[in-house]
Amino acid sequence: MHKPATKPKCKRCRQPAVVQLPAHHSAFCRDCFFVFFERQVERAITEERMVRSDEEVLVAVSGGKDSLALWDVLDRLGYHTVGLHLDLGIGAYSRLSREKTEQFARQRQLRLEVVDFEKYGHAVPEMVRFTRRAPCAACGTAKRYYFDRVAAERGFSVVATGHNLDDEAARLLGNVLRWDVDHLARQRPVLEPSHERFARKVKPLFRLSEYETAAYAFLRRLDYVIEECPNAAGATQLRLKEHWNRIEADMPGSKLHFVLEFYRRAQPRFVEAKAEAPGTCERCGMPAHRSLCSFCSLVLEVERRKAPASAAAG
């Protein structure tokens, strides 16, 4: 027979807890967990000077737990936000993601911008089919491009993404395993723009773990996409996260310590290589280090390879 379980108590109000956070030596009831969560976000924004009080924030919203939790919490904290959803054209997964995002925006009466990749002829499955890029690499290039482009066209100076502590820890571990000093020099919770047409990129959830954002989304009854992107299976980032979770289970708090201390003590020692000021992409007019930006290069590659394939099929 096992010993009778002792229900953990909330650290703040001593009511029965619903969330246990060994990394913080804490447990919280539902309402106190919301206070904890909001404080972590406020702290990230304030300490890292992510958003000025007069700025409107473009929030990248995929329809998953992190981005919907981010949009929810920024709205509750009183930030002026507009959502940006990229419909990647990945079949039923993208349809569901868009539906959940649009539903959230409607319910909260928040403005949402949608970019439909299929409409522009570069849905992610096409980009993968007609190039040799890995799905996540092609998708990442397209996402970063549209975050910048929509921000530039609509006049936003700041873009917030739902990257959480686990994302940052996995990325940092990956960079360290390769001693990728260029990426280590650019891994920060705030990325200042390298060109006047670029927006500042901020990660207000970087202090919160994936478990915490999922618990927040569940307890706030946010209707998010539980399904994982079909292209993500076996992705390096997921494997790194699995390794991290074993370390974290053994030594709670390691993930948080690793990331926060990297930002505080190690990151400033990595100096970003001086790049020439970007020029202008010949195709789209966005800043670019070559004649074409990386997204237009990708799209051209798709178009070049797609044409003979279509002719052969026709």
């Binding site: 002792t6 246990q20 994936e210 478990y211 618990a215 539980i226 994982e228 997921l238 996260k241 974290e248």
Partner: protein, 96 residues
């Protein structure tokens, strides 16, 4: 004629006089565990802590939400045979 009796878990403490003619239908009520997003279902015995359930399933506590109805469970909560438990993966990723 053999007598047919129904024994349920929990009745084990009561004295039952058995004869050679008895046959038993043992009804083992089990807890239903539903995994999301995989939509896979298994049956497990209840009467155990969430921490023990996760250990048996080879899952680490910080990687899943354990949900009963609209309630989020902690490692110290106990699940029962009559429960339907949802185990929801929290890991996501791929693109940077």
């Amino acid at each position: 004629m053999p007598r047919r009796r129904r024994l349920t878990p929990g009745a084990s403490g009561s004295a039952v006089a058995l004869t050679a003619q008895d046959t038993f239908l043992i009804v083992a009520q089990a807890m239903k565990v539903v995994f999301l997003p995989q939509k896979r279902e298994v049956e497990m015995p209840g009467g155990q802590r969430v921490a023990d359930l996760l250990r048996k399933l080879d899952l680490l506590p910080g990687t899943v939400l354990v949900i009963r109805g609209d309630e989020l469970l902690t490692s110290e909560d106990t699940v029962a045979d009559s429960d339907t438990i949802e185990i929801r993966n929290v890991l996501s990723g791929g693109s940077s």
